[in-house]
């Protein structure tokens, strides 16, 4: 049972990380949203599996929250925003795809090198999980800076939050209130982002950050 629990948790975490990589090379907004949904599904599965294998029922609530918010509400809402605002559907990368992938792989290496020696006295599952979630956070940051589109930056931010929740469910004993507050902050951030997206578009008629930056009298 323990071996199976470890392997399954490891695999689900790896899927979340894989989805982070997949987010990095998407060229279209809708496929970006699909990948993000899949990442949220993988995350919810991880939380549920942890709840089952460690017999911690409150993680079911986390899983449910993730499922509802991240996998349903946010993607659907973003989908509607994109349709409603008639945003250009392609994403212009500021960094080449190949280069981004290389950077992503080195970030994963960095987080493994960082986490494994630091947490030598922790259980194997916790260590692996921390390394995975740190990778997801760093990849989300990388996504935010390597894309010019505002929507993709929002998605990058959300995937950072996914990394945090992954860390939270992996570490035994993390109280529910932490996860609740993370979830809540994601919700608030999403609302704020949505309002900002509307306002930016109303004002500048575009969501392409490069064009918005040109309004400030400068450009990349």
């Amino acid at each position: 049972m323990t071996d199976l629990g470890y392997d399954a948790a490891h695999m689900l975490g790896a899927v979340v990380l894989l989805m982070s990589f997949a987010l990095l090379y998407q060229r279209r907004l809708f496929s970006l949203l699909h990948v993000f949904t899949m990442q949220a599904l993988a995350l919810a599965a991880t939380a549920a599996w942890q709840a089952f294998s460690h017999d911690e029922p409150h993680l079911y609530i986390t899983a449910l929250l993730t499922l509802v918010l991240k996998a349903v509400v946010i993607p659907v809402a973003l989908h509607r925003i994109i349709l409603k605002m008639n945003i250009q559907r392609t994403i212009e990368p500021a960094l080449g795809i190949g280069l981004t992938m290389v950077a992503g792989v080195s970030l994963v290496t960095l987080s493994i090198l960082l986490v494994l020696p630091v947490t030598e006295d922790a259980t194997a599952l916790t260590r692996e999980n921390l390394a995975l979630s740190l990778s997801v956070v760093l990849l989300g940051l990388l996504m935010m800076i390597s894309r010019r589109n505002a929507v993709s930056q929002v998605v990058g931010f959300m995937s950072i939050e996914n990394g945090l929740i992954l860390a939270a469910v992996g570490v035994a004993g993390m109280p529910l209130v932490v996860e609740m507050s993370v979830a809540f902050s994601v919700m608030v951030a999403f609302i704020i982002f949505g309002i900002f997206l509307f306002h930016i578009r109303e004002r500048f008629d575009t969501l392409d950050m490069q064009k918005i930056e040109s309004f400030r009298g400068e450009s990349d």
């Binding site: 970030l107 630091v118 990388l142 935010m144 930056e213 400030r216 400068e218 990349d220």
Partner: protein, 674 residues
Amino acid sequence: MGFVVSAIAFLFVMAATGVAARRLPSVPTIVYGGSAAACAIVVLWAAATLAGGGGVAEGWVLPIGLPWIGTHLRADALSAFFLLIVNFGGITASLFGWGYERAHRDSHAGPVLPLFPLFLAAMNMVLIADDAFAFLVSWEFMSLASWLLVLSTHREEGTPRAARLYLIMASFGTACLLLAFGLLATAHGDYSFDAIRAQAPSVSAAAFCVVLVLLGAGSKAGLVPLHVWLPLAHSAAPSHVSALMSGVMTKVAVYAMIRVLFDLLGEPAWWWGGVMLGFGALTAVMGVLYALMQEDVKRLLAYSTVENIGAIVIALGLALVFKASHTPVIAALALTAGLLHVANHSLFKSLLFFTAGAVLTATGSRDLGRLGGLIHRMPTTAVLALIGSAAISALPPLNGFVGEWLLFQAILNGPALPEWSLKIEIAVVGAALALATALAGACFVRFYGIAFLGRPRSRAAGEAAEVGAGMRLGMAVPAALCVALGVLPTPLIRLFEPAVRLMVEAGPFDDRAYQPWFWLAPTSAIGNSYNGLIMLAVIALLSVLLVLVIHRRASDRVRLSIPWGCGFDGPDPAAVTQYTASSFGQPIRRAFGSTVFRARDEVEMPEPGDTRPARLTVRWTDPAWALLFTPVGVAVDRLAERANRLQFMTIRRYLTLMFLALVVLLVMVAVTQR
């Protein structure tokens, strides 16, 4: 202790009165009278405490300030001595200020009345602070109060620049002191002076601390090259405030140096005093050379303060090296010389700034080139200014002479030190101090001769009238003390002996069984002694003889006058042909200024037949600006320019910067964890 705290509280009340009842005509009288009364109480308390053999052993802890720490207050013998100096200066400045304010009612000037008692209170608070936090807060409070007082003349040209420079340098000084106390408090974080004393800092921490204190307190005292703000700010303030800043506030900075270097840091290393000696000598010589180049009376006096601070710092450096070499009796002699010079300088510098204020009131000018002949118009001021000038030039039997005499006695003990480098340095410093003293004499001959002798150089100087009674009284008190302390210095030295004993654990008169009160013969003065009474009698006798001889021999003779006296003769000679301030300074400007200040005289002589006047242009560069402040300013500007670009980046750039910083930090952690 209670007297000091209640006097400070009373000064705050006076400040509030100054704010609340600004419009009432009697308010200046109340505020200045109240300040003088508060200062007088502290003076009496400090004198009684010192005469009783020391300060207060038990301090007070007031429950204000940082929570759980409070404010520690204590006045030991050293504090009591400086309280005496500061508050005596406060009394005379209040007296003079009362008359000055009435003569100088300028509706456009900023408020002085509320700030003057605040400034006095702040200086008192610095002196009784017994923990680093209270000390720093009071110190900054003192800086800000004096800064606001400087700004009260904000409509005069040059004041805004002076005030800005002062603010920058004051912040710099406080920052240095903050770091110094941070080093002293170390890991325990206990900022009370008792706790700092209890644990000796490490060698490197002590070294840093010495440098930081010399920077922090030195910038306030006016150590070259950190002196640049001092002449500008001190001369820009109203005259009684200038006297306080120059005569008294610099002494608070000296107190800070003594407190940290002699008391808090514990056993000194030999090089601390060496550094102080070097900077003291540089300050003394440069200060007086600057003073000789000035045309502005108050600026001249302010540069002369820089010179005197140099002499005091030399005395402190000597005391420190002798303390480090375990010869406390000689250290006591040097520290006595330093403290005596502190007292002397506070007296005659206040006096001279008051005379400058009186001259400014009477003529409306601070420019030496527009004064002259004031001895006929303002006889009292002229006599008092003469006493001040003679005292600051260290002429016997005035108090300046006693201080310098003691200082040279300490310098002559230099060969008693084990380190050869210090022996040689002290010889060089002694020579530099002698040079500075002689130049100070020249400087004050120039000041007095140009301002008070000769003929008026402007209409205003010709029509000047003597100032009012309050101002004259404010000048007469320090002048009388200059004479009294010069004739009888021993009682004052006896009075502050507990302070010296506290700092170097020896007194200046140790191993002398009998020491009469009119005789000054310190133990380590190698058999030399000074008796002011004999000196006074001899000088009086010689003066009488000289006057008699001159009147007998010279006045009765028939005098022949040459028909053309360089255009100076005649019924109403144009005063423009007489010797001017810059002609007086020219020999010294040529001898020293050409190398130190790169001074150049350019004479523009018109062709024969041309009716244009000939023109003499004197150019000189200030080495402190040219070598230190301008390059630093340029560097700061350039850095600010660089940093300014960070303000105008795109969001993605900011995110990238943060991301890179995060990755770099993580890599550092990953590498160092290995």
